[in-house]
Point group: C2
Chain length 248, copies 2
């Protein structure tokens, strides 16, 4: 049975997608069979792997609303397998809001196929809505990418509260794997202050090392690669590989 990770943080632009893609690539390079699940209607993960979300016949949306089996929707991308998203997924949110047991929708979609993988990584949208709750319900553990800046700080407590609710109601076994400091600016005191602040206030484990900010990481999606593939000797690739080893 695979380890299923939800990569979540309702704050926007904290490198959830970048982290899912990089960790997935690193784990695949270590020999794991990896499934990536794109749960964002903006389909950035899907795009990032070189799959055109607007050209897809089917996406995870069809698994939710038309009961299409996930095995008929997943697509191979290099050494990874992707359950892709498309803009249709915005319709899934509306559809699921009206359904009993909606929190379990993703878990049900993944159940028949997850046995084929060693690790599943779910990329969440920047919200604590029904798609993220579904990811938290389907997961064994949560990875929290965090941009160590003032405006990101507040969200972590709220996310931890949401995780407690999910533990209480829909997924008692859910663990928190830890926080990953993303786009970390090592040159300033602020980054380290925010990280220590969050760790001491929430008691969350901080996974090491931080991933430093680097323009090459932002450029990798243009080449339809994660930094791990795009520039394997780059410090960011190295950081994500060291983080990936701790998730196996």
């Amino acid at each position: 049975m695979p380890k299923v990770y939800a990569v979540a943080n309702q704050k926007g632009g904290v490198a959830k997608t970048t982290t899912v893609h990089a960790l997935g690539t690193a784990l695949a390079a270590l020999g794991d069979r990896v499934l990536l699940v794109d749960l964002d209607p903006q389909a950035c993960l899907t795009f990032s792997t070189g799959t055109d979300p607007d050209a897809l016949e089917r996406s995870v949306h069809d698994c939710f609303v038309r009961d299409v089996p996930a095995v008929d929707v997943v697509t191979k991308v290099g050494d990874l397998v992707l359950l892709p998203a498309s803009i249709d997924l915005a319709g899934s949110e509306l559809f699921l809001l009206g359904k009993t047991g909606r929190e379990f929708a993703l878990k049900k979609v993944l159940a028949p196929i997850k046995g084929d993988y060693d690790v599943v990584l779910i990329d969440c949208p920047p919200s604590l809505g029904v798609l993220t709750i579904g990811a938290l319900t389907a997961a064994d553990a949560v990875i929290i990418p965090m941009q160590c800046e003032a405006l990101s700080e507040r969200g972590v407590a709220q996310l931890v509260e949401t995780i407690s609710d999910v533990r209480e109601f829909t997924n008692p076994a859910l663990e928190i794997a830890g926080v990953i400091a993303t786009m970390f600016d090592g040159r300033t005191v602020e980054g380290r202050r925010v990280l220590d602040d969050v760790a001491s206030k929430t008691g969350l484990r901080v996974l090491e090392p931080p991933v430093k900010r680097s323009v090459r990481i932002a450029e990798a999606p243009t080449a339809h690669r994660s930094i791990v593939d795009h520039a394997p000797k780059h410090a960011g690739a190295e950081a994500y590989r060291r983080l990936a080893e701790q998730l196996r």
Copy 2:
């Protein structure tokens, strides 16, 4: 009658909140009476002005679901007036989804008070859901902050499509003021490429100058200030002032 701007981009972390706060501060310094509207349940704008969202008795949420007049909810913050958000606003989204004419909810909330201001700036959450649609329906024009990186690029076309829908159905007079290049990395080719790409594909006007990436801008919220107040001589403050002048 004031000029009402919706500051929107469904991509996360592209400096919507930072831009609203900075432009608002710059316009107030030019003598305008400025109203800031926080439409994000994460209440980052509210926090950024030094208002504690968790200590608020009422927020814009109460205007939506309990018909509390906006005049009883707004709060003075320095030279600005703020219609604040709180986590309750997540409940507004659900509530509004069930209501006829929901797109006009914010417009109705603002109608009695907007005459007291020269400019209104609405901070949108990272989604194209009911709150953002409400902002686009209430606005005279849209400002699109854009992080000039590959993963942000795709979203702009989708946002422009949404704006066309709003023009067609709920706000025929809606204009696009233009794109602001935020957190701009002048040292690389990528940033300028993405900006030119978006401009040529969408025909959108690019407002000048770009706001360069600088750690001081990310630190300003810790002091409960925008960069314009926090470091008036800083290049980012200067950029936002020059942008503000074009919005009057």
